[in-house]
């Protein structure tokens, strides 16, 4: 994968810089390493060939400061856990009209799942939804000249397997709380219980309701308007009127 290679390279540079900052006196050694890298490029050796040299250098030097593992992990692909039984417990579908926020939020969701201990699979790119509209440019008599518009919805699927339903709900709530702009989410959850027994969610429905109502004000980024006067103020504000349309 060329993608992961470049990310690893970025991490490599970061660690070099950190060492330089820590030992300004012996800054020759990284320089030497760089010079070595230049030479190794001439001999067609790759990134992997340089790694063993670096590690021996690190062992010879005293403990050098580095970024925390969690920060280092940001430059790598998200970690994933392996499902033991492989029983699907949640399907999360993410939708967006643009790629960048979608990929970013998929990454975020996978990392969140990992740190919550959920085995997540994906993101699976689902078929794009293309909607097209054709409209005449002007009056109906000029039907010959038309214009096409389209809207392409990109979709990604993240599946959780072997998830505890409560943890999965926590994960979904966390994603809602940190919802990113331009991203729509929908989730299907499945839970399994013994025959004749009540499901976990049914047992505590009332408790969940109170919990959800208590948590509701903290979810999302939209503050509720307290009075009609305040709503009027927001609506008549210059920014909102400018944002509302072309006129």
């Amino acid at each position: 994968m060329p993608f992961s290679l470049t990310r690893r390279a970025a991490l490599h540079e970061v660690s070099l810089v950190a060492r330089q900052r820590a030992y300004p006196d012996c800054s020759r050694q990284p320089m030497l390493a760089l010079a070595g890298s230049r030479r190794s490029k001439a001999s067609l050796s790759g990134e992997a060939d340089r790694k063993p040299n670096l590690s021996t250098q690190a062992t010879s030097e005293p403990e050098s400061p580095r970024h925390p593992r969690s920060v280092q992990a940001l430059h790598l692909k998200p970690l994933k856990r392996e499902a033991e039984h492989g029983i699907p417990s949640c399907d999360l579908q993410l939708r967006s009209y643009s790629l960048q926020p979608l990929d970013f939020f998929c990454d975020f969701a996978l990392r969140a799942a990992y740190y919550l201990g959920l085995p997540a699979y994906g993101p699976v790119p689902l078929p794009r939804i293309t909607q097209r509209w054709t409209v005449p440019r002007s009056h109906f008599i000029f039907k010959k000249s038309q214009e096409n518009f389209e809207r392409i919805t990109l979709r990604r699927l993240i599946q959780i397997k072997d998830g505890n339903p409560e943890t999965v709900q926590l994960w979904l709530a966390y994603l809602r709380k940190h919802q990113y702009y331009g991203i729509g989410m929908k989730a299907n959850m499945w839970e399994f219980s013994e025959l004749g027994g009540q499901s976990v969610t049914k047992q505590n429905t009332r408790q969940y309701e109170t919990d959800i109502n208590a948590a509701w004000p903290h979810l999302g980024q939209v503050k509720p308007l307290e009075s009609a006067l305040e709503a009027d103020k927001v609506l008549n504000h210059r920014l909102s009127s400018e944002a509302s349309g072309p006129r």
């Binding site: 409209v135 005449p136 518009f149 072309p246």
Partner: protein, 113 residues
């Protein structure tokens, strides 16, 4: 039918007599939907006595035309037009084009293929 109409304006779209009327019809239909469906059920149920079914028929006939779903017509929220209104955007085709070119509609771009 002015008694159905709200005393204060409760729509945020283009305001005209026809848009206000259409909005009122939607509200009235929503209020009376259950009653309408019950009467329709009674009329079509052959196991009920003929007298009850005839009475239900008369009652349904005497209900206001504002309670009928066929009276509702989609209108453009920007210009109030009834023709060429896209369901997805609740806009007539020309207003849709204007908004799309202004970049107000998320994800809508000019297409060429």
């Amino acid at each position: 039918m002015s008694h159905w109409r709200k005393k204060t304006l409760d729509i945020g779209c283009f305001v005209g007599s026809r848009t206000v009327r259409d909005h009122t019809k939607r509200l009235v239909f929503e209020q009376h939907e259950a009653e309408r469906q019950a009467l329709r059920y009674v009329i079509r149920n052959t196991s009920l006595p003929a007298r009850a079914r005839a009475e239900a028929q008369l009652q349904l006939q005497q209900m206001s035309n504002y309670t009928r779903p066929t009276q509702i017509r989609n209108r453009c929220t920007i210009g109030g037009h009834t023709r060429g209104v896209f369901r997805d955007f609740k806009m007539s085709r020309f207003n849709f084009r204007m908004q799309a070119m202004a970049g107000v509609l998320p994800g809508v771009k000019r297409a060429s293929w």
